[in-house]
Every structure is written in structure tokens, then in C-alpha cells.
């Protein structure tokens, strides 16, 4: 499957990746080659086959819904590149 530059830009926007023009072109070429190789999947008959979403062999884990101590606000913001008290600071999102 050959991707257009427009498709690459659309996917980059969905992925929140600001690609340079060089990266866009490299992505277009490489993803096209990779997706071509993935075409083998279309040859597999999967009629009536359920998808596997998890590799688990065990029963789903359930526990009582009891509040446990968690990290706490100070530790949670300790790695923030910008913070205001115990909040994460970000650029203004509304004027």
C-alpha cells in the first residue's frame, strides 16, 4: 500500500508528532514498504475467527473496590517540567 504525503500528515496529526518535511518523506517511503509486507495478512482466511486482544490464560482479576493510599499530589508532580503548586502547568488553552 503506497501512502500519499497527505495521508502521512494526517496520521502524524493524529499521533501528535510534528514531523519535518524530510521525516514526512522518509515515513511515506518506509511505511509504504512496511505496509506492503503486511499485505500477506489479506491472504489468510479469518472468516468466523474471533480477534485475540490479550494473551491471558488466567481468569480476569477482580478485587474489592476499596480505596488504597496512592502516590499523593506532591510526588505526582515532582517530575513535571512546569508546575504551579501541586498542579501541572500548561500553556493557556482558552483565550
Amino acid at each position: 500500500m503506497a501512502l500519499t504525503l497527505e495521508q502521512v500528515r494526517h496520521v502524524a496529526a493524529l499521533a501528535r508528532l510534528a514531523l519535518t518535511p524530510d521525516e514526512e518523506r522518509a515515513c511515506q517511503q518506509q511505511l509504504s514498504v512496511i505496509l506492503d509486507a503486511m499485505e500477506v495478512l489479506s491472504r489468510v482466511d479469518t472468516e468466523g475467527v474471533e480477534p485475540t486482544t490479550s494473551a491471558t490464560f488466567a481468569e480476569g482479576a477482580l478485587r474489592p473496590d476499596v480505596v488504597q493510599p496512592s502516590l499523593g499530589a506532591e510526588k505526582a508532580v515532582a517530575n513535571a517540567p512546569a508546575k504551579a503548586g501541586t498542579s501541572f502547568a500548561v500553556p493557556k488553552i482558552l483565550d
Binding site: L17, L31, V44, T46, A55
Partner: protein, 489 residues
């Protein structure tokens, strides 16, 4: 008596128990060895001499006061792939986007190692976010194979394999999403074990592809791998995907041999393009098992050829979702160039992620995007079901499967770094096991004429780590490959 750094984990433990050596001496021997050889190998991102020596001292004092050891490996140091959170310590996943990130809590496996008295000696290099098969995708530097410094130690746990092979440490933890423990173990003459999905907690382990990721040991011997797995395995209430099952002894049946076992040889695992010396070594290993009394059975896993494509859609799709958290808001890098929140996300991620991570995020986002989801992601998940059924069918006939781990021995640094598909093909024999969630182990089975290690892969039924370790041990006992060391002057 050889160098302390030549001892295996359990040999060190024995010396400690006999009072012939102290934990601090063991840690110091690792630090000395790291200082001597790591400038050439470059396995470590960071060495934590202070932390390891403090843990060693505490272990020594316990021992001197007659307190029973916290575990069989109390006082025996190991190192960690830089993907496990340890409270107060930097953890980067090999990425610029996490440079300087100080973990606010311990991963469950780290907490278990600490509770077992195991000194943690530092952080090992990896492909960024564990995406790669050569450790060349580390954002910091490539690691070199101790058997040939011009070659890759494999990946993504290549820092782990290189450090253990070079005798800088006798054991390490890695993670395996498509072969990232077994393949570097094979390329460095080590034992590398990927447990059953759900056997070991992933709490505090930086995620790549959650339905595939699993934590496991790399070591020089099978018994060491069993001892490390014993410490880290088991249910964790903090990881809902960790199985609430009783953990058996992984070492009790190690010496039971293979007489009467049925070992399957999947014909699809002897692929075109396989190195002839790898093929010959594995065929010799199969003959050796026959000689030890195992019954060798030809089996077929017909969907093997589709597994690679399914994996390289499913893993990037999950990665694109998992890595959405790196947005410049809560931790890690934040771009200085952005003035709006949208730009902040896009520029932070553009500056912080390397080329392979961007490629997989793009591939995964594509596979999940409107209009392509059914044809790519959903199709891959259905094929995953068929891959899994192949294994179920095979395990009705046999007790375990044996194959090469990697189709090729260690390759030159740079040989595949610019060709994503060639790199992905390196995982062709290891990733079906992850798609099916099964346990797998690689054990040394020979060398090429050029002196490069070759690994034998053994895959088992769900939860049968003890079974595959026993089969690996039977081979190890009859051969001396594991005892050979690379020459590093």
C-alpha cells in the same frame, strides 16, 4: 579460584553462605570489572555504586547477625534494563523524552528484588522504549557485543546481554515483547527466559505493547535464570494482568532430564535465509536431545509466516496508545518551542522520540485509524488467534517445541539499522511465542566458525517455565558452551 566476576549467581550465593566472600566484595568485583571493560562494551547507562554497596553492606550485616537470608540470592548483585522504575532513581527507557525522569515508586519486580536482598548495580542500555533488535535505537549510544565488539549484542535488552556476557554482572532483568530477552541472550551465549504472559508483574515497567510485554531474567546458566524467576514471579494486586496462580518451584525438576519427553520441531521455523551454521548447530542439538532419550516429533505451525505481519501491526498499535502519555505535561521533556497546548504535544514528541519510535507510533496510529482499523489491526488480531491455535494444536502432540532463537548470529553494528524490515525479520522466530503468550527460553547451543554464539529456543505450554528450564538444563549439562567466555582485554 578464579575471579569473583566469573562466578554465577548461585556460585556467588554459595560462597556467601560459606563465609568465603562478602556481598560488598561481590559488588566491588562487579564495579571493578565494569570500570575495566564497559568503556569498550558500553552496556551500562548508569552505575549505582553507592546504592549497590549500601544494599551489600545491609546484606552483610544481616548475615553477620545470624539473620536468615532473605532469599537464595541475598547479597548477590544483578543489574536492570533501564525500563524498571526504582524509587528515587533515574529511569529513561533509552529515550531522550525521559532523560532526567526520577521514578516516584518501585516497580513490583524491583521491590521484590530489594525484599530478596539483591543489590542493584545499575541501569543497562536498550533500544528506545524496547523497540528494536540491536540496541542501536538507544537514544544514547549503541552497545557492543563482547564476543565481537564490531557487532550488536542483540536487542532490545542488549545492555543486559552484553553486561552478563562480559562478566560485569552475573544476572540481569530484561523485558521481552517480541524476543527482546531471548534474541540478545542467543547472540551473547546466555540463557534468556521470557515467562508466560501474566507470570511476572509489569507494575512500574515502562510499557511498550501491553498484550505482549513480559519481564524475565538473563544469566549464564539455567539454574540462575530459575533462581531469578523465583524471586520476581507471582501475583501482584497492582497489575490486573498478573495471574493469581500459585508459583511452583522453578528449580525442583531442573535435573530431571528429557527421557520420555516429546519435543516438537516446527518445520516453519527453519526459514529461508537462515544462517547455515545456525541451522547445523540446532540440528545437532535436536540429535543431542534424541540421544538423551527425548522423542523428536515433526510438527507444523502453519500460520508462522503471518505472525510477523500480525506482530508488527499489533505491537505498534499498542505502542501508539501507550506512548500517548509522553506529551510534555506530567513528566519528561517539554519543548521550548510551543506556545499552544497542541503544539506542546506535537513538538515535545517530535524532539523527544527517536526515528524508530516515531516510525512505530506512525505505523500503529495508521493501523488504528478510521478506515484502516478493520483491514489492519482487527485482521492482525484475528491472525493472532490462528497463531495461538497452531500452538494449542502442537501442544496436544508434544511437551515443548525446539527451534533456533535467531535466524542469524550477531550482526555488524550498522548492518540493519537503516532498514526497518530487515530489523523486524530478526524477530521472526521469537515473536509468535509473544503473540500466543507462551513461555520461551534461549540456551547456548554452539558457535559459528567465526566464534559467534548460537542459541536454541525452547517454547512451552502456558505456565510451564519449569518444564522448558528442565529441557534447557538437560542440554546445558551435556555441553560446555555456557562455560565459554568472551576475551576482553
Amino acid at each position: 579460584m578464579g575471579e569473583l566476576s566469573d562466578l554465577t549467581l548461585l556460585e556467588s550465593a554459595k560462597r556467601l553462605a560459606a563465609g568465603e566472600v562478602s556481598s560488598e566484595e561481590l559488588v566491588q568485583a562487579c564495579l571493578d570489572r565494569i570500570a575495566t571493560v564497559d568503556p569498550k562494551v558500553r552496556a551500562f547507562l548508569r552505575v549505582d555504586a553507592e546504592g549497590a554497596l549500601a544494599a551489600a553492606k545491609a546484606s552483610h550485616q544481616r548475615r553477620r547477625s545470624g539473620i536468615p537470608p532473605l532469599s537464595p540470592l541475598d547479597g548477590v548483585p544483578i543489574a536492570l534494563k533501564d525500563i524498571f522504575c526504582e524509587v528515587g532513581k533515574e529511569t529513561t527507557a533509552g529515550s531522550k523524552i525521559l532523560e532526567g525522569f526520577i521514578a516516584p515508586y518501585d516497580a513490583t519486580v524491583v521491590a521484590r528484588l530489594k525484599a530478596a536482598g539483591v543489590p542493584l548495580i545499575g541501569r543497562l542500555n536498550l533500544d528506545e522504549f524496547a523497540m528494536g533488535s540491536s540496541t542501536e535505537h538507544s537514544a544514547f549510544f549503541p552497545t557492543r557485543n563482547p564476543w565481537d565488539l564490531t557487532r550488536s549484542p542483540g536487542g532490545s535488552s542488549g545492555g543486559s546481554s552484553a553486561a552478563v556476557a562480559a562478566r560485569m554482572v552475573a544476572g540481569a532483568l530484561g523485558t521481552d515483547t517480541g524476543g527482546s530477552i531471548r534474541q540478545p541472550a542467543a547472540l551473547c551465549n546466555l540463557v534468556g527466559l521470557k515467562p508466560t504472559w501474566g507470570r511476572v508483574s509489569r507494575y512500574g515497567v515502562i510499557a511498550y505493547a501491553s498484550s505482549l510485554d513480559q519481564v524475565g531474567p538473563l544469566s549464564r546458566t539455567v539454574a540462575d535464570a530459575a533462581a531469578l524467576l523465583q524471586i520476581i514471579a507471582g501475583h501482584d494486586p497492582r497489575d490486573s494482568t498478573s495471574a493469581n496462580l500459585e508459583v511452583p518451584s522453578f528449580s525442583a525438576s531442573l535435573e530431571d532430564g528429557v527421557k520420555g519427553l516429546r519435543l516438537g520441531v516446527p518445520k516453519e521455523y527453519f526459514v529461508d535465509g537462515m544462517d547455515p551454521e545456525v541451522r547445523a548447530a540446532v540440528e545437532a542439538a535436536i540429535d543431542a536431545y534424541r540421544g538423551m532419550g527425548a522423542e523428536i516429533v515433526d510438527v507444523s505451525l502453519p500460520h508462522t509466516r503471518y505472525a510477523l505481519a500480525a506482530y508488527y501491526l499489533i505491537a505498534p498499535a499498542e505502542a501508539s496508545s501507550n506512548l500517548a502519555r509522553y506529551d510534555g505535561v506530567r513528566f519528561g521533556l517539554r519543548s521550548e518551542r510551543a506556545h499552544t497546548l497542541g503544539d506542546l504535544y506535537a513538538h515535545t514528541r517530535a524532539e523527544g522520540f527517536g526515528a524508530e519510535v516515531k516510525r512505530r507510533i506512525m505505523l500503529g496510529t495508521w493501523a488504528l485509524s478510521a478506515g484502516y482499523y478493520d483491514a489492519y489491526y482487527l485482521k492482525a488480531q484475528k491472525v493472532r488467534t490462528l497463531v495461538r491455535r497452531d500452538f494449542e494444536e502442537a501442544f496436544r502432540q508434544v511437551d515443548a517445541l525446539i527451534s533456533p532463537t535467531s535466524p542469524v548470529p550477531a550482526f555488524e553494528l550498522g548492518a540493519k539499522a537503516e532498514d526497518p524490515l530487515a530489523m523486524y525479520l530478526l524477530d521472526v522466530l521469537t515473536l509468535p511465542c509473544n503473540l500466543a503468550g507462551l513461555p520461551g527460553v534461549s540456551v547456548p547451543c554452539g558457535f559459528t566458525r567465526g566464534g559467534l554464539p548460537i542459541g536454541l529456543q525452547i517454547l512451552g505450554r502456558p505456565w510451564d517455565e519449569a518444564g522448558i528450564l528442565r529441557i534447557a538444563r538437560a542440554f546445558e549439562r551435556e555441553h560446555d558452551f555456557s562455560q565459554r567466555a568472551p576475551v576482553l582485554t
